[in-house]
């Protein structure tokens, strides 16, 4: 072995690996082992069950919609926070991190109370025929809440470093403001928006605490997949819980791999041109 100038290679790497092995790898191996015990037949039975399908559809579909919504509103909020100066900007900027910092259970009961038919927001939405609490819409709202900071925080540094001269170049070439936005700024932000989207999506798909209170958890209607895992566990269906957990885990891994591939493809020009 080459002589190393700095000490501590063996101990630091050894410790990190042992720790990761015990805390992360061993338990995940247990999940894989337990999940594989269910067999192909068991898996088809599990995934074919209407209740499982409905839960997966709500978790994935709701998370997709919420992440999409977050990309739009996150772009708007990020833009406003980076580009404009107005009183209270720093305060609002700090507020963006609230969903990171607020425990999910607290967010869950707060959202549930807020959108309940007699809540601050619910009482205005109810007469309009919009029911949020205890419906899939409530699931969506909670997923928007937890995913929101990902898009803004991923976007902000990139927005701040966006070269102004590129926008000026577009303007001097005759582009209208909206053309500059859609043809120049948006394409340049696309890889970043994609990252934010994926992070928000992954988070919303697995989210539990902030969703279950507002969801109402009606099977086939407003029951999310993580809750179904908990239900199976409470019924001592360990194999079923493990299998469903493994499916969700694979889904989120597949998502991450897909995003990194997409990024590599769209980032073929992302190298800085200066």
């Amino acid at each position: 072995m080459r002589h190393r100038v700095l000490p501590g290679f063996g101990i630091s790497l050894g410790y990190a690996l042992a720790y990761l092995g015990l805390i992360v790898l061993l338990p995940l191996a247990a999940l894989g082992w337990k999940a594989s015990g269910i067999g192909i037949a068991g898996l088809t039975h599990l995934l074919g069950a209407p209740r499982t399908l409905a839960a997966l559809r709500l978790s994935i579909g709701g998370a997709l919609l919420a992440a999409l919504f977050n990309v739009v509103i996150g772009l708007l909020v990020g833009w406003v926070l980076v580009r404009y100066r107005f009183p209270g900007r720093r305060l609002f900027d700090a507020l963006v991190d609230l969903p990171f910092a607020l425990p999910t259970a607290v967010a869950g009961i707060a959202l549930s109370t807020l959108y309940a038919p007699n809540g601050w927001l619910g009482q205005w939405l109810e007469p309009l025929g919009i029911k949020v609490a205890y419906t899939p819409l409530g699931v969506f709202v909670a997923m928007v809440f937890v995913g929101f900071p990902f898009v803004v925080r991923t976007l902000q540094p990139v927005l701040a470093s966006l070269e102004r001269d590129v926008e000026e170049a577009a303007e001097s070439l005759g582009a209208q403001r909206w053309q500059t936005f859609f043809r120049v700024i948006l394409p340049m932000l696309a890889p970043t928006l994609l990252t934010g989207f994926a992070l928000a999506l992954a988070r919303a798909m697995g989210e539990y605490g902030s969703v279950i209170f507002i969801a109402g958890n009606l099977p086939m209607h407003s029951e999310i997949a993580p809750l179904l895992i908990v239900q199976k566990l409470e019924q001592f269906d360990y194999a079923g819980a493990a299998a469903l957990g493994a499916v969700m885990l694979l889904l989120s891994f597949a998502l991450l791999v897909m995003v990194s591939l997409l990024q590599r493809w769209s980032g073929r020009w992302a190298e800085r041109t200066r």
């Binding site: 070269e163 000026e168 170049a169 303007e171 001097s172 043809r183 340049m188 020009w269 190298e271 200066r274």
Partner: protein
């Protein structure tokens, strides 16, 4: 239609970027805005581009009020210092951008756009690079793409901000010549900003020298070099020797050298004289007039040799330039005694407070006198 800039003022919080600037730019002219950083040259260019606005003053393009026209309607082509290429678009798409964003009524057909882009690619010698992204190009290639993109919209006015600032010295010289040829061919009114005097003097028809938000002098390169209007221009452009001359009876003198005549007719007691190194005559024979000097060192720079002289009569150092072949012809070597005298000089009188007065410039020549 001339471009008429009148009494432009632009203040930033800490300094005045433009201080009552007026300038007329003739059609087809190649004009350089030359000055040190912070002199206001970039601000002036950005005002022309519609990317900045003056606090007061007017800009007219013929009859058209430029300040009332948004940047995108001014029909200008702008090349940015760092090119500002769209990094998510290919070279072809970059060049076509300005045509594609037009409203459908004035937008050329797809075939027209393709044809025009191809011609431009050819013009900037990048025929085989249309499909590349800016990150795959060298600095000089990016520069030419930026230029092609600016030309694609067929502008009335081409603006370049430090066009060669980010390039290697060699590429810089090549591109400079190429840009000059392009201008000869297109006859497009062109304004470029630079802090490099060599670039400005070599390229431009006219040079506007700026300092502290003011235009110090506008003129053809040889006028700027040979007849600088202010002490700043003397010192900023080229190398120059500076010394003081004081009144001595009827005329002026500095350490035994006397420029003949007095255009100021006895009004000033002191003046500041500027002499370019190549305007210092060097002689070995002691019969020559003017100063005795000691040759301290010879800096050989290719075809020219810079002589580092010390003149006891002025109690200061002077620099004289001679052709390299003169070194051996005159038998010059460090440590020897020489005699030097100016062939020409630019003199500015000083008032009682010691400030120089540019308006009273005196262009002095050894053989005959010129009073500006």
């Amino acid at each position: 239609m001339p471009l008429q800039l009148s009494h432009l003022n632009r203040r930033f919080t800490e300094f005045a970027a433009l201080n009552d600037v007026s300038l007329t730019i003739a059609p087809g002219e190649f004009l350089a805005l030359l000055g040190p950083s912070g002199s206001g040259k970039t601000t002036l260019l950005r005002i022309l581009a519609g990317l900045d606005y003056p606090d007061s003053g007017t800009v007219f393009n013929g009859e058209e009020d430029f300040l009332a026209t948004p940047a995108r309607q001014r029909r200008i082509g702008m090349v940015f210092q760092h090119y500002a290429l769209f990094r998510h678009l290919t070279v072809t798409e970059n060049i076509a951008f300005g045509l594609r964003v037009r409203s459908w009524r004035s937008r050329p057909s797809r075939a027209d756009i393709r044809g025009r882009v191809e011609r431009l690619l050819k013009r900037v010698q990048l025929e085989d690079f249309g499909g590349r992204y800016p990150s795959q190009l060298s600095g000089g290639q990016r520069q030419r793409v930026a230029l092609a993109r600016a030309l694609a919209v067929e502008p009335d006015l081409l603006l370049l901000d430090e066009p060669f600032g980010a390039l290697d010295a060699q590429v810089r010289v090549t591109l400079r010549r190429w840009l000059r040829e392009l201008h000869e061919e297109l006859q497009l009114t062109t304004v470029f900003v630079t802090h490099d005097q060599e670039e400005a003097l070599e390229l431009a028809d006219r040079v506007a020298v700026m300092n502290h938000g003011r235009i110090e002098q506008v003129g053809a390169p040889e006028i700027i070099y040979q007849q600088p209007a202010t002490p700043f221009v003397c010192e900023f452009i080229g190398k120059v020797n500076r010394f003081t001359v004081t009144r001595n009876g009827e005329g002026f003198a500095a350490g035994g050298w006397t420029p003949d005549g007095d255009p100021w007719e006895g009004r000033f007691a002191e003046a500041q004289a500027y002499v370019r190194p190549e305007q210092l005559r060097v002689a070995v024979a002691p019969s020559q007039p003017a100063w005795e000097a000691r040759l301290r060192h010879i800096y050989l720079a290719g075809s020219v040799a810079h002589l580092d002289l010390h003149v006891p009569a002025l109690d200061q150092a002077l620099e004289a330039d001679v052709a390299s072949e003169d070194l051996s012809r005159l038998g010059l070597h460090a440590g020897m005694e020489l005699r030097v005298a100016p062939r020409s000089a630019v003199l500015f009188p000083r008032d009682a407070s010691g400030a120089t007065i540019s308006e009273e410039r005196w262009l002095w020549h050894a053989a005959h006198r010129v009073h500006a």
